[in-house]
């Protein structure tokens, strides 16, 4: 290590005798070269932990990989697109067909997003203007969002318990439904899942809208007020149009997140869930790890990915739009 330092040193002294402009140019040009090594850890990690497994999964979706062939998974029989065809056929004994799960997942993400948007907007508007105790209200509004998903799922599982859960008891006292409504199995499980999810995810829209509201100048409202516009009018003519970009982003991210939601139904219903609540990620899990049909599971998750790319492409388009305007 010490011997090569001698020639380096002479090079260094050689530079100092050169004109000062040359030194600066040399330094600036090396300064402008991107330090690619700083990206190396991210790229390496993403390659090993996300991209490589993804590639394996794409390959597996074309093979008959199951509990018999997993030991020699590299030589599992190649079956082409057979898994994809299977995914559209009847479901197995343990769950719904992939097609039905696609339907459940799509309706789940659309319904929850439609429900949480107005709640989030209203909540953000309520705490946007200063008042006494606003800090505490803002803190309270964040609590459901901060609660870990697994805790949320356990709590709602208990609230919806048949016979003694709080929701059944309250509904029975109000004579709205019988104590044996069975929220966690059958067709109502979808709505139980929606309610649990709305409770925990509306603060996401609230946070995004609150952030967006900070970018709207109060001058706009003042001049609207001067012109005699009512607050309701102000909301539809100023707030909503100004919030459009944030809201669009919030709705897309919310749809994507909900589509990928695995933990909530997994813990709330256990496996296997009722077909009405068998969202695609959960169905993939059951196919892969309970019926050990890894090839079919991989094919189903690729189909999920393609479905999710539809909103993602919109999202990317929007980001490009943002780049063009700024």
């Amino acid at each position: 290590m010490s011997s090569p330092q001698v020639p380096l040193d002479t090079v260094g002294t050689a530079y100092t005798t050169a004109p000062p402009g040359a030194v600066r140019r040399k330094r600036m040009s090396s300064w402008q070269r991107p330090p690619y090594w700083m990206m190396l850890p991210s790229v390496a990690l993403l390659l090993i932990i996300v991209v490589a497994p993804f590639a394996v999964s794409v390959y597996a979706s074309l093979t008959k990989l199951n509990q018999y062939t997993i030991a020699h998974w590299t030589s599992a029989p190649f079956v082409g697109l057979e898994n994809y065809a299977d995914a559209f056929r009847q479901g197995n004994a343990l769950g719904a067909s992939a097609l039905q799960s696609v339907w459940v997942s799509v309706s789940f993400s659309v319904v929850t997003t439609i429900l949480i948007t107005p709640i989030g907007i209203i909540a953000a508007l309520l705490v946007n203007k200063p008042f006494r105790g606003r800090r505490w209200v803002r803190t309270l509004f964040l609590v459901p969002y901060v609660m870990p998903v697994f805790v949320n799922a356990i709590v709602w599982r208990m609230l919806f318990m048949n016979g003694w859960g709080l929701i059944d008891q309250v509904l029975a006292t109000l004579h709205l439904a019988s104590k044996d409504t069975f929220w966690l199995i059958g067709p109502r499980s979808f709505w139980a899942m929606v309610v649990a999810d709305v409770w925990s995810s509306w603060p996401f829209v609230y946070l995004m809208v609150l952030a967006g509201l900070q970018g709207i100048s109060s001058d706009l409202y003042e001049s609207a007020n001067m012109d005699g516009a009512s607050p309701v009018r102000g909301f539809f003519s100023i707030t909503l149009p100004m919030l459009r970009p944030v809201l669009g982003l919030a709705l897309l991210l919310s749809t994507l997140n909900h589509f990928n939601n695995f933990t909530l139904p997994f813990i709330m219903f256990g496996t296997p869930p009722s077909p009405q609540a068998d969202v695609l990620p959960l169905n993939v899990y059951i196919t892969s790890f309970q019926t050990f049909n890894f090839g079919l599971g991989a094919a189903m998750s690729l189909m999920t990915l393609i479905l999710m790319m539809i909103p993602a492409v919109f999202y990317i388009r929007m980001l490009r739009l943002g780049e063009a305007t700024s």
Partner: protein, 288 residues
């Protein structure tokens, strides 16, 4: 005219109070029920009694021995904390290069970060496990069940969002200061350490919190990649529920006490930093 404006004011203030009260009720009722059940003796929960005959504070004592709760919380703190910290630091390097330099493949890289976020995590579980086992066999060091493995997994899952978040923060910081640093003869690392990091600290806090949340809330990977010694608290709580599925009784009282206890640290962290987080989302999301 003036009176009508003040009347209007009073009307909207009233509306606001009603609105806040409604939302607060929606939030508080389930929370209050958790607290109530956590203080109800396990035997009374299934009976459907809304008010316990006595306050079962023993739930908070028994929960530590029924499952390895203390160990789970400790593991979760270690795993989520390190994953959050490392994700923030590693993403900082990428975000710096992405925000400060134009180069070929920059846009492709940023788009692929978004694409990676849409990959369903269930899809990666088995192949990732297989790859880890292959590496483990190749270097003959045990990897499954180690802190190291699960930390690297979580930090990588947190990376795409962390890169985007830090990138949008970095874009908001003027480049002049760094150039001044370079003229003064700082090396690249010194500039990042003494100029970029202090200015970026609020953004780094937000990035850390979101990465931490991701690691803390995961059940799927923790259940496969951790062993009995490295189980996270999410897996510990699962033990309560799965005992019910296999036909036994679920200790609801203890489960609620344990859920509260395991949710509390993360709530406190989030609420401490909430000012940064709202500001950070305003910064990152609006500019996006």
């Amino acid at each position: 005219m003036i009176r009508s404006i003040s009347a209007q004011h009073r009307f909207w203030n009233g509306m606001r109070a009603v609105g806040i009260a409604l939302i607060a009720l929606f939030i508080v009722i389930p929370l209050a029920y958790i607290v109530l059940i956590s203080l109800t003796p396990d035997t009374q929960v299934g009976g459907g009694s809304l008010w316990p005959s006595h306050w079962a504070f023993e739930n908070y004592a028994k929960m530590w021995s029924t499952v390895h709760l203390a160990q789970g919380i400790r593991n979760s703190v270690i795993i989520s904390g390190l994953a959050g910290l490392l994700a923030t630091l590693v993403a900082l390097g990428s975000a710096y290069v992405l925000a400060r330099f134009q180069f070929r493949g920059r846009k492709t890289f940023m788009l692929s970060l978004i694409t990676i976020q849409t990959i369903p995590s269930v899809m990666l579980l088995l192949p990732l496990f297989v790859i880890i086992v292959v590496i483990q066999d190749a270097i003959s060091i045990h990897l499954v069940g180690r802190y190291f493995t699960i930390i690297l997994t979580y930090m990588t899952f947190a990376l795409p969002f962390a890169c985007w978040l830090l990138y949008s923060y970095m874009s908001g910081i003027p480049v002049d200061l760094e150039e001044a640093g370079s003229v003064d003869g700082c090396t690249r690392l010194q500039v990042v350490r003494y100029v970029v990091i202090p200015l970026l600290l609020p953004g780094m806090v937000v990035t850390f919190v979101f990465s931490f949340l991701l690691a803390w809330g995961d059940v799927l990977f923790a259940s496969v990649l951790t062993s009995a010694e490295t189980h996270t608290v999410a897996v510990s709580l699962q033990t309560y529920v799965s005992s019910g599925e296999s036909g036994g009784d679920v200790y609801w009282g203890q489960l609620m006490a344990a859920s509260l206890t395991s949710g509390l640290p993360i709530m406190v962290i989030f609420l401490i930093f909430q000012k940064y987080i709202i500001g950070g989302l305003a910064n990152g999301a609006v500019k996006g």
